[in-house]
Amino acid sequence: MRPELEALRRDAVADPTAVDRFVDGHSFPLIDDSTSTFVYRGEADSVRLRHWVYGLAATPAFTRLDGTDLWYVVLDVPRDSRIEYKIEVIRGDHVESIQDPLNPFTARDPFGANSVLQTDGYERPAWTLPDPEARSGTLVAHRSHSPALGRDVDLSLYLPARFRPTSRYPLLIVHDGSDYLDYSSMQVVLDNLIHRLELAEILVAFSNPQDRLVEYADHEPHARYITDELVPWLETEFPLVATAGGRGLMGASFGAAASFAVARRHPEMFGRMLLQSGSFAFSDIGESERGPLFAPIEAMVNEFRADPEPFSERVFVSCGTFESLIYENRSLVPVLQSTGMEIRYVEARDGHNWENWRDRLRDGLSWLFPGPLWMVYE
């Protein structure tokens, strides 16, 4: 137990206001070099911490500080970590899952919002925040019908600031595009990285699935939509470089698997790949525990592991060390390297979430599509 809590335990016996002073006088969670102490205040039968750090108990129980309504739980968390969590408050049969009332840091995702633990060393990168000096690109909405998918598809197209029809731009296609825009601040990131000259001026197509777990699981119609419909249309309508080195695919989780699948089905079409926390399950060394939705991906990854062939030129792979997919991603890297493709692999002390993916964008995008940082001085 941290010394502050030890002291509070002693003080609270004689002074009921000691808890108030303790809560008012600290920032939570309490963080030191190697541990983080989560604190909840309130009446409850029990309190649990819900996090998604693979390898730790999923819902460690809080301990009530004797004679108070203060609860705490300690986790070993190293420096430079970022962990999303919720607090589960149990009263009778009712479980309430809430954000940490004592922690102002939150992160949004398609399911709502979580509290965020940031240990020493982690700082939100400045390039993920709006920069008034950066020129803003434009997002253009587009709807079209896809014969391959048999449905209408909605896209957002990012045109960089000062877009010129007479220039030639590389193209990046983003799976789960709306989520990258909403939860990974990707328009801000693109504006900033281009402004900082770290990223080439680029056209980005943010695409969205309908039935994600089907379309993104090595789905032939999805690949056909990307390669036979989307890319040809974009290259007709916009001034694009239109070579493998000027085309990229990216995605996270199933979106990374979808990118991998499309590129494997059409090697030499996409020279740049950005794969974040890919759902690269495999079952060639025993049955996978991932479930039936992963079956098409397992078959694809098994096949690739058995006969690795290059499908791109440069592949950037990232994964959080706190997510279960770290095993699959680490396993994939040497197989990717064996094909002769240029591979860059990055890990971070973070989980399977959109802000982890946001924080890796500078590293990935600037490596795949480097900007004129060294040669331009405006």
Binding site: R162, R164, P370, M375, E378
Partner: protein
């Protein structure tokens, strides 16, 4: 090559333009009906060369853009033989840079690894000095070899004597002869530099006051050094690029220094300053400018540094400190 009149180096102009004030302070009244236009070069903006409305407005509309990028494009379209040779020249220069960067990385690594021997005393200091000399020799070798490539191109292809080039050069000469000064904007360093060379600008600036910012300031000096202390990838060592125009000797111009350099890292700043000495490394951020009154290029470097006006210019010292040049 002719020498310009007073040369003013400025910081970036996009967010906090000071060019109009600096031009006015130089005694040029662009508003006067008798004042000739200011010639401008925006070739560093490449295909955006003509997007110069802000610059034109800042100079009260009394400007004429030399359009070097467009002229070069016309040359490259019409003189295919020269275009091929120019491309080959560019390829060789890039190859030289690539080989240089490979060697530079190891040479600078050695400097920093020596610096980590904190308890080395004089013994290590001597080795650091020697290691920096090796880096300086590498820098010098790059300048010489790239100079050879450029000279070979000029000797073999004599661009000034080719019809299309000669016609454009004559236009440029005429415009410059009828201008009150020359303003060189920033942008992409190689493009800006080689367009200025190709169109013979330096032959026609005798006596003209020059105002150059960002990349323009870099190429106005003797040696162009490209730099960034926080790139997303790769080594962070400043690199020699090529000889500049030499209009402002004795200085290494470092635009946007606060953003691009770790000014709070005395080791890096000290090595930077020592590496390029006797030239002084000067940082030019928004609002900074430095005027040299001396023309002709006949003075020594130390004399040329005897500037008459300076504002907001950062001096990077060999002891690792960074101070504003005293007024």
């Amino acid at each position: 090559m002719s020498a310009p009149g007073a040369v003013t180096l400025l910081g970036p102009q996009r967010l906090a333009p000071t060019l109009p004030d600096v031009v006015r302070a130089a005694g040029i009244d662009l508003q006067s009906s008798s004042c000739a236009p200011m010639a401008t070069i925006t070739a560093g903006w490449q295909e955006r060369e003509d997007d110069d409305r802000d610059l034109v407005d800042a100079l009260l509309g009394n400007t004429v853009n030399l359009r070097l990028y467009a002229r070069a494009a016309d040359i490259f379209e019409r003189d295919t033989e020269l275009t091929a040779a120019h491309s080959e020249r560019g390829r060789r220069l890039r190859d030289l840079q690539s080989l240089y960067e490979l060697r530079l990385g190891h040479a600078m690594d050695a400097v920093y690894e020596l610096a980590e021997r904190l308890d080395g005393g004089q013994l290590v200091d001597d080795e650091i000095r020697s290691a920096l000399d090796a880096v300086r020799a590498l820098d010098q070798r790059l300048l010489e070899r790239s100079g050879e490539v450029i000279d070979e191109f000029v000797e073999q292809w004599r661009p000034a004597e080719r019809d299309v080039v000669a016609a454009h050069r004559a236009d440029v000469a005429t415009i410059l002869a009828e201008s009150c000064g020359l303003a060189i904007a920033g942008g992409q360093v190689p493009t800006l530099l080689n367009r200025i060379h190709l169109l013979g600008v330096a032959d026609h600036v005798a006596g003209l006051p020059v105002f150059a910012w960002s990349a323009g300031a870099m190429i106005a000096t003797e040696r162009i050094v490209v730099f960034h202390d926080d790139p997303p990838h790769g080594r962070r060592y400043a690199r020699m690029f090529e000889h500049g125009l030499g209009w402002f000797p004795g200085v290494v111009a470092m635009p946007d220094a606060r953003r691009r350099l770790h000014l709070d890292d005395p080791l890096r700043i000290g090595f930077l300053a020592r590496r390029f000495a006797p030239a002084v490394c000067l940082g030019f951020d928004d609002g900074a400018h430095l005027v040299s009154p001396i023309d002709g290029g006949n003075s020594s470097s130390s004399e040329r540094r005897d500037v008459i006006v300076r504002r907001g210019v950062l001096h990077l010292s060999d002891d690792g400190s960074v101070d504003e040049l005293a007024a």
